[in-house]
Symmetry: C3
């Protein structure tokens, strides 16, 4: 038996053996530190309520961001270089984009207040509790309502809705509404097109 | 087809068409800015743990507040002019009163830590994703436990309890206890009156 | 009838009668204030990402902490003198240890981001809404995933897992995985030992 077995669990994980596996942060250390100490406090600041400067800042750190994007105060982004936002994306107050893996958000998506997007996981079947990361993909026209939460590897389908406080660890199908923890399908989303005209669908 | 159709969803919302509908913030811009940049940081501050100054501040911005109210540090209030608190109301640490619509809390109510009260919604059936707001009414003697969450339009009945981390998007009946996400009725609340005396019920 | 009965609920709690019962904070007032105004802001600071100084600080306020402990930024601890951490414990970003009662975390435990550990409760069957506190005990090798929540009096058994955003108000059995709100058993955890060798289990 190992000498410090008293503090170890014989059958479950041992964090002194922890391994990040193949994971890399995707940017040199100086860039990570610069983002952490200077950039991130700016996107999180309540004193910068307007979006333009924050969008420029994120782009300068490698984020790909379209037009018409609104970033509310208190938004926390782990790694801008692993973030893609389309056009007219909203990031609500205190949303937390925890993108150790890539997070891609297509156009016309609303991420409401306090949403948490989690891309990190651990292999609980291994004593070394290896880090597992998986991207999140959020398709056009979807809405993650306030305080909802999305787990690693999830795809939120086109036009899907996740309701207030719901938790999704499985992918959401297009044009469907999910609710609860765990989130389950509760309704189909049907939209009335804006000023529908002939030839414009 | 419109020229930027590539970034638009044909069937779901288009945030460049976003409309706040009939919504108004209920105060002139200068007052909103003054609250956002000066008032709100004070109610949120960890350096002002005592309630008296915060109660006065909220009243000066239009909140109606009774006696014996306790406001813990980290409380965020969107619009004081849309807030009514009775007597002996407690707002716990980091509670978030997101009152774009009126929030009325009657007397002897405990709002615990990290509770989120959400009065904003969106019409997901419309491409313009119109803002819909609805008031929250919390009746006497009820308790929203830590990290619980209440949605737009909900009435929390007299003496109702919402347990730790629960999410209520439907109204709660008086003297009943709700739990889970979605919150479901789990128990009837029965109270033993304090020092019951003849003639005092 | 009492004169201010208009603001009182006849059948449910009356917060002007509130009682903390037998509860005591476990430290003199000067120590509580020193922790609140000087110590706690340091463990919560985003400017102190490294653990060593925070571990020393917590020990100087009475916490019992082993070796190899990692404390991420944004961690909030109510009372260090009611905290015991074994070896190789991780406290994730913005975890909130609300230990009005004792919280004991054994070795090789991962408490992820935004986890909330709640030791305070109220007696909703009494008009005076008495404070009830109960300790939390988290055994070796367990994992509370991001944004999960554990209630008063809970024991998290050896090697148990509580998944993303789940809420546990009941104790969790060893080597089992719980999910949802309320958290329910979803799976048994089986671990492959690290470099299993003859004679080492």
């Amino acid at each position: 038996m190992p000498s410090n077995s008293g503090s170890r669990s014989p059958e479950s994980m041992q964090l002194d053996l922890y391994s990040v596996g193949k994971y890399t942060p995707g940017a040199p250390l100086w860039k990570q530190l610069l983002w952490y100490f200077l950039g991130s406090p700016m996107t999180e600041s309540r004193l910068l309520p307007f979006s333009a400067m924050k969008v420029q800042l994120l782009r300068s750190f490698g984020a790909q961001i379209g037009t018409g994007v609104r970033i509310k105060p208190g938004v926390r982004i782990k790694f801008p270089w692993r973030l893609t936002l389309g056009d007219y994306v909203w990031l609500g107050e205190n949303a937390w984009i925890d993108n150790v893996a890539q997070i891609s958000i297509e156009s016309h998506v609303c991420i409401s207040q306090q949403v948490y997007l989690c891309t990190g996981n651990h292999d609980w079947s291994k004593s070394e509790f290896s880090l597992i990361t998986a991207p999140i993909h959020i398709e056009t026209g979807s809405w993650l309502a306030a305080r909802s939460c999305v787990g690693p590897g999830v795809t939120v389908g086109r036009g899907a809705v996740l309701t207030l406080g719901s938790v999704a660890t499985q992918s959401l199908e297009p044009m469907k509404i999910y609710s609860g923890n765990p989130a389950v399908l509760i309704k189909v989303r049907v939209e009335i097109p804006f000023k529908a005209q002939p030839g414009v669908k």
